[in-house]
Symmetry: C2
Subunit: 340 residues, 2 copies
């Protein structure tokens, strides 16, 4: 155990695209767990696009990170010391806090992980918040029917990959949109989407016409921007637009105009947003469904693991530009279950 707790702090609120200068890296004392708390050593830190909202000053569904405070984030780790009778030293847990190596966490806020159920890191991706996001949005809003066409943006990402694979299990036709040939190849050949469009190279509209000859019934919105503009006019009557995120616009200083909503009347569209944290109560059900599929290889996932907390700001900036390939994780420390 190191005797200092390295942390990434928010130095200032970025206007537009964040830079590494918006963050501070500092060493503080390792916290002492209070009664009822456990000290968690972080193994993996999850970086996710929603964090861009947390460092803006604008009102949103969650409180922003204060200037000078530790950046928020979810962590998988191991218990180093416990003052909660239900938590033991050595336990693997989901629920460390923030961009830091150690945190003292109330035992009641920790979820124990069984490394034999699935690799620890999956609790931050395919079996964690991103997987649950896919499950909730698809079952509550998208509801793909057999033979319908589902288009998934950011298809190789942590959420999109699960969306597409679940939609295939509903016998939908699934078309991904991703950035670059490597991601598209992965989406088609590994994840088993019917097709994948490279939004960087293609005339997106023409590519959608080609890959979605019957139009689009469900659009999973992760990105906004030009992709949204190309998809929107191609939605079918009774189309559903699952508003999960619009990462390509998160760094915008001014809101761009959106689509004219007359089509929502004419085509009886449903455009609906959701936030996964409203639906934590479904986490257990999702994991019970998805963990066996992950173990037997039916639900595939890919991780992009960056080593070392100090690289978190740079990796996060890359995430907002689509530079990661798979679920982005920061390796905070050794994972005894993999020996790496």
């Amino acid at each position: 155990m190191r005797d200092r707790n390295r942390q990434v702090l928010l130095k200032r609120r970025p206007t537009g695209a964040p830079t590494t200068a918006d963050f501070d890296i500092a060493d503080g004392p390792v916290p002492e767990p209070a009664d009822g708390e456990a000290l968690v050593r972080g193994i993996y830190l999850s970086l996710d696009p929603y964090m861009r909202g947390r460092i803006s000053g604008t009102r949103s569904y969650a409180k922003p990170v204060d200037i000078g405070a530790v950046m928020e984030g979810r962590v998988v780790g191991q218990v180093v010391r416990s003052r909660d009778p239900g938590i033991r030293e050595g336990d693997y847990v989901y629920g460390g806090y923030g961009w830091q190596l150690y945190s003292a966490v109330p035992g009641k806020d920790l979820i124990k992980l069984d490394p034999n159920e699935a690799p620890l890191s999956t609790a931050l991706g395919v079996l964690g918040m991103p997987g649950l996001t896919a499950y909730v949005g698809l079952s509550e809003i998208g509801r793909p029917q057999r033979g319908e066409t589902v288009v998934v943006s950011a298809a190789s990402g942590a959420v999109g990959a699960v969306v597409g694979q679940l939609a295939k299990r509903h016998d939908a036709r699934v078309v991904g949109i991703a950035g670059g040939p490597d991601k598209c190849r992965y989406v088609e050949s590994e994840l088993g989407f019917d097709s994948c469009i490279d939004h960087r190279s293609a005339d997106l509209g023409a590519a959608l016409d080609r890959t979605c000859p019957q139009g689009i019934d469900v659009y999973w919105e992760n990105v906004g921007g030009a992709v949204q503009q190309a998809v929107f006019p191609r939605l079918n009557d009774f189309g559903r637009m699952v508003m999960c995120g619009m990462v390509s616009e998160y760094n915008d200083v001014e809101l761009r105009p959106g689509p004219n909503l007359m089509a929502a009347v004419r085509k009886r569209l449903k455009i609906q947003g959701f936030i996964v944290s409203d639906q934590w109560q479904r986490f257990g059900k999702y994991r019970a469904m998805a963990a066996p599929l992950v173990r037997n290889g039916e639900l595939k996932y890919r991780e992009d693991i960056v080593d070392g907390l100090d690289r978190a700001p740079e990796a996060f900036i890359g995430l907002l530009n689509g530079r990661n390939f798979g679920k982005l994780l920061i390796k905070l420390g050794d994972d005894p279950t993999t020996g790496r």
Copy 2:
């Protein structure tokens, strides 16, 4: 019975705002009912904003009116001659066709009206398609809860008036938006909305802030344009936007930009369109609920009756500009039940 059938025909497709020159008025022969048909003499013709879509050439949920064809529209009338055993001469019916004095209609497409149940004209308004529109959109999409704030655009119109009165029956707080002080006074004092904003005179944003201090939970969209722009950013978390129409944009040649949809994610909005003709099966249930309320005065309505088919084009053009005050009807001929 006149021996000629006066008709309004579509002469050409308007670009932008229609003018009377886009229509032709012609006299044709009174049709002969075929076997199974009845000849209906029109009493009231309904003019509704959706007709603007029918005279555009663009693809929509219904087939456009052909050039040279009779304008489409719903009529209440009286059977002059019948070759359907279930329909008798003198019957009052809902279901004549088009902007014309007479039509020959299959008996199975006619709904008999009992003038003792409610005035005949209400079958085109509060107890007809506009009323059903309000009922369906509110029960399927808007779902106002006790204490929520519901904003209704075109509040004195055929649909809006019913929306607001039904929302009050759900114990919601209801704020109307209408054009001009007379309509606003009517909406507040006759229809019983909690408040009504004149979109012509007010700083709409400031007026919404004043009348909706708790934000907006349900927005009934009839108009689009500047009203939509003012309402959208004031929607609350989990707000519902019932996309019924956007009449202020129907004459646009180019689509205007819409709102940026990031708010749909952040606030978990639902923006959903519907078309009442998908829901005709609910007509009976709606009438059974609403007709007693109309009779006992709990569900109020107002009609703007223009005399004479020849004035239909001009009245329709006025409807698109909000010049009507209440449900717009064209009086085609005498109503024996009122003696007028």
